[in-house]
Amino acid sequence: MRKEVAAVFLQRVCNKIGLLMLGLLASASLRAQEPPYFVTYSDVMEEPGNLEISYKGISAAPKNANSFNSATTEFEYGLKAWWTTEVYLTGQTTQNDSTLFTGFRWENRVRLLQRNHFINPVLYAEFENVNEADRSFLEVMNHDSISDLYLSNAQARKEKERSMELKLILSSNTHGWNISENFITEKAMNQSEPWEFGYALGVSRPLALTASSKACVFCRENFSAGLEMYGGLGTTDQFGWKQTSQYLAPIVQFNIPKGPSIGFEPSFGLNANSLGMLWRFKVSYEIEQFFGVFRKNAH
């Protein structure tokens, strides 16, 4: 008897989850025309009430170290038209080593000016709780180097860092182009390390500036392309390019109408400290008015 009750209960729960998933899928939409960057942030905020779920994958085969795949899942929510909050969960798997969860990040982005200007500043604040085995490369800081990857996961995971990261995001939109500059600083709160610095620059443009009158999947307007450059800038003790890693990366993104966005970026290491090549891939999926979906399903 108890088993039957449990089975009915389980079936009801599954039905509810199924309905919720259907609701989420039905409310998914074209991702708003966002610049295709992987590392650089622009002034584009998540629309209020929308939740965007993204998966960012990285694959690399560094010289003299095991190849690895890193996965980052992002949940980005628009609290206000000028305020976006985001949670990241990261993990990685290293060949001939192990697979592990490396930590989480929580960031908030606030648009500083209410009107649109030639340069739009956005302030970014993030709390990070990650271990040294993290391979997400969400930004490159300090004197990050290929030699950091020589440690085994077991050794690297022992060192945990809780840090605050601040970014000043400057972004312009002109003649269809987006040009964004990020100035990044980070301070470990549980270690007596100096302030670390980094940067990211991006430029991108959709392949067409006008929409076509007929529905189409492979229209030029659904594609955007761009270029990113990012790297470390040392610390307060040793500021500059010396012994930092630097990357240059062309990007392409495809916004599938009424579906997810898919992006791809090969990052080329520009000096001996950098990995030769980082392959980046992402897929993003936007759920409109996320909490509205729950309300609809509750009725």
């Binding site: 209410q114 009158s213 007929k214």
Partner: protein, 140 residues
């Protein structure tokens, strides 16, 4: 049962004041130079069709698939929007009204924003601006 207490009356008054404050206040901020800008796509059938598609992708989630408004989000068939100049609406798309929840759409290329405006304005022309009865009210 139907009688509101003083708290209810005060709350209703406060809500009315907030709504009045939200009514098209952005229009006052539009610079003269922007107000007079002309939509290069006005009345062009292809641009209107394209604008409808872009509207469906980016605007319909808040303003409704038929632009009649949704919840607290305003109808774009209202007299206020239909009587606004193309330049005024273009300015709003560029700057948004962040405090009221309207994001900036400067991320969309300019021609695409003009296509949206061509579509929105075509709704008023089709319905007859004066006779339009927006379901979402005039809460812009």
């Amino acid at each position: 049962m139907g009688r509101k207490g003083p708290i209810g009356t005060i709350a209703a008054l406060a809500l009315a004041i907030v709504c009045l404050g939200a009514d098209g206040s952005w229009l006052k901020d539009v610079p003269e130079a922007d107000r007079g800008r002309v939509n290069p796509y006005t009345g062009q059938a292809e641009a209107i069709a394209a604008g409808k598609r872009v509207f469906g992708d980016h605007c319909a989630k808040c303003h409704g698939p038929d632009a009649m408004g949704k919840g607290k989000r305003p109808s774009l068939r209202s007299d206020r929007v239909q009587h606004a100049t193309d330049g005024e609406i273009f300015w709003l798309l560029k700057n948004g009204n962040l405090r009221k929840g309207m994001p900036t759409w400067a991320r969309l290329p300019e021609p695409m924003r003009w296509q949206i405006i061509a579509y929105v304005k075509s709704l008023g022309a089709a319905a007859g601006v004066d006779g339009t009865q927006p379901a979402g009210g005039e809460r812009q």
